[in-house]
């Protein structure tokens, strides 16, 4: 942490700040990115205060209202009611919380597994590199959704805590970060500043985490924002197959999976949760697209 503060005070930091301001300017210039950025902020606020503003917050969990099942959308129930008479609008809004939580936890887990491994593999080289990268290749030879499915199934199915799904997705996802970081490290470790650091005799550990890691942060951030959407989709897919959240959790994928049996007669059951997934993932993808343009100056000429 001290290193970061020292960095802030240095002259270089001023240049960096200027660059950051320019990046924000670029971010603002692209209207679509700007809109999606604001949308995500709204989404986060909604997720935070959702349970307190929705009209029927008790419907998110076990409540059952047999007298008002399958009501079409109206002013009272904006998105209609489902097979247990629960207000779909309340459930979708509270579902935002779960999806954001999944995305954040999984990204933190994958980054904290994948990045250190990539650092070690790239910096140490030799046998360690080989060992780590071959394991990574093994994971990369299967599509992540399939891996996540297999791991989730292996960790048991019913009555389990929802966290197993998060762990399963993280296990399937970390190799991408290892590969990304390793590639960066291999090119970075030949740079003079690393050589200089080594010449002063500080430990490899410090070189890796203090000197090399900060220089890899940009691609990691871009990748993380890019993956957020895919993670939300994967989690929804697992729930859709009955592996993730269990009823009556207001998870969007699960709501779709239950809505599947009724939606041909009651279209609002499936439409709104799916729309929520689409809009959320779209916003994150648009933002990461813009972020990449803003952070990688080379792409700016397009």
């Amino acid at each position: 942490m001290v290193g970061f503060i020292a960095m802030f005070k240095s002259e270089k930091m001023k240049a960096r700040l200027r660059e950051l301001r320019y990046s924000i300017y670029i971010l603002k210039r692209n209207k679509l990115t700007y809109i999606s950025f604001i949308f995500i902020l709204c989404l986060i606020v909604t997720a935070a205060i959702g349970p307190y503003i929705v009209p029927y917050s008790e419907d998110a969990y076990g409540a059952v209202h047999p007298e008002k099942v399958f009501q079409p959308p109206s002013l009272e129930h904006l998105f209609g009611t489902d097979d247990a008479g629960r207000d779909i609008f309340s459930r979708v809004v509270i579902g935002a919380r779960i999806s954001l939580w999944i995305g954040i936890v999984v990204i933190i887990l994958t980054v904290s597994i994948g990045v250190p491994l990539g650092l070690v593999a790239g910096y140490m080289g030799g046998v360690i590199d080989e060992a780590i990268m071959r394991v990574t290749d093994m994971f990369l030879s299967l599509p992540p959704l399939l891996l996540a499915l297999v791991f989730a199934a292996a960790m048991g199915l019913r009555g389990q805590s929802f966290n197993n799904v998060l762990i399963a997705i993280a296990i399937a996802w970390w190799p991408w970060y290892t590969r990304l970081v390793r590639g960066q490290v291999v090119s970075l470790k030949e740079r003079p500043f690393v050589e200089a650091a080594r010449a002063t005799g500080i430990s490899s550990f410090k070189i890796m985490f203090r000197h090399i890691l900060p220089n890899c942060l940009t691609p990691i951030m871009v990748q993380a924002s890019l993956d957020f959407g895919s993670v939300v989709l994967t989690a929804a897919g697992l729930s859709f197959l009955g592996l993730g959240a269990q009823p009556p959790t207001p998870e969007w994928g699960l709501m779709l999976s239950i809505g599947r049996y009724y939606f041909l007669n009651y279209w609002w059951l499936a439409t709104f949760p799916g729309l929520a997934i689409f809009v959320t993932v779209l916003a994150f993808n648009l933002m990461s697209d813009g972020l990449r343009e803003a952070l990688y100056p080379k792409l700016r000429r397009f």
Partner: protein
């Protein structure tokens, strides 16, 4: 599950012998690996049939679905990419950008459901699911030759069934294509943008060769390399994505088989499907490498 819900002690003992559970764990693993090398994936706990036989009977349906989807992606994606590369920042370029980001953001089962609502429920032009209608399969039975209903019905001259199969295939195939279309279009656009700056394109322009010919004859050929890689990857991706899509369309393919196996924790079947898909994945990578060398003679297989 192997012996039913209320087994007697004797049945349990016999089941243990049949499944090889009386052996120590490391022996179980060795036996499994030995059988695997001989092409034996074990017996499904759910269907009581050899897993390999199950997979082989379900795979044609999935390959037909995914194959059609990929063909649709190529047919639509490549021209879309070419047009957006040659007419940058035109409305069609923005449309293809929106299409590609939308395609990767959408939850495919939801897209399928919305398609069912629109084309089956409201317009009534396409069937809701299955590979072929029951009445047609009784009146005009399809001889099973390759397992691909389209090909089978065509070579036996069974045109009524062919039409029916095609109409069943349309919607799921387009849902499968939603993801790769955008990827292909974007890939073509970005590689072709680079290719169009090359000197030989300028030469061709100076010779007065029509723009269309330049785009399709000269530039496109040299942009295909990365696109083929993307196509192969999205083929494998779609094969897993059909786990979800086949559930929605009640499509009797590998995906639905895998999904049911996962829900009932049928480990031999889950392992079998995972190994099978990994093999397809590796095989596809090999084909891609060969194709790359074929398209671009500068790449030599060493």
């Amino acid at each position: 599950m192997w012996v039913g819900t209320h087994p007697t002690q004797e049945q349990i003992e016999r089941a243990k012998k049949e499944l090889g559970l009386d052996q120590p764990l490391h022996m179980q693993f060795l036996i499994y690996m030995n059988k695997l090398l001989h092409g034996d994936l074990g017996v499904s706990i759910r269907t009581h049939r050899p897993v390999l036989q199950d997979i082989l009977s379900f795979i044609p349906a999935s390959l037909e679905l995914v194959g059609t989807g990929i063909i649709i992606a190529v047919v639509i994606g490549i021209p879309l990419g070419v047009v957006s590369a040659t007419r940058k920042d035109s409305w069609i370029d923005h449309l293809s950008r929106l299409f590609s980001i939308g395609g990767v953001s959408i939850f495919t089962p939801w897209l399928g459901m919305m398609g069912q609502l629109l084309f089956f429920k409201w317009l009534g032009v396409l069937p809701v699911g299955d590979r072929v209608s029951t009445s047609i399969s009784i009146q005009y039975p399809i001889q099973r030759i390759t397992g691909f209903y389209l090909i089978d019905s065509l070579i036996t001259g069974n045109f009524v069934a062919f039409q029916d199969v095609l109409s069943h295939l349309m919607l799921p195939a387009f849902v499968v294509a939603a993801y790769p279309i955008g990827l292909v279009a974007r890939m073509i656009r970005s590689t072709m943008t680079e290719v169009l700056e090359e000197d030989y394109i300028k030469t061709a322009k100076a010779y007065g060769i029509p723009k269309r010919t330049i785009a399709y004859r000269y530039a496109l050929k040299n942009s295909l390399g990365p696109t083929i890689t993307v196509l192969a990857l999205s083929f494998a991706y779609s094969l897993v994505e059909t786990f979800l899509i086949e559930m929605v369309f009640n499509w009797p393919g590998l995906g639905r088989y895998a999904a049911f196996s996962i829900i009932s924790l049928d480990y031999p079947a889950i392992m079998g499907v995972a190994i099978f898909i990994a093999l397809i994945y590796i095989f596809l990578n090999l084909i891609v490498d060969i194709l790359q060398a074929f398209i671009d003679p500068r790449i030599r297989l060493t």
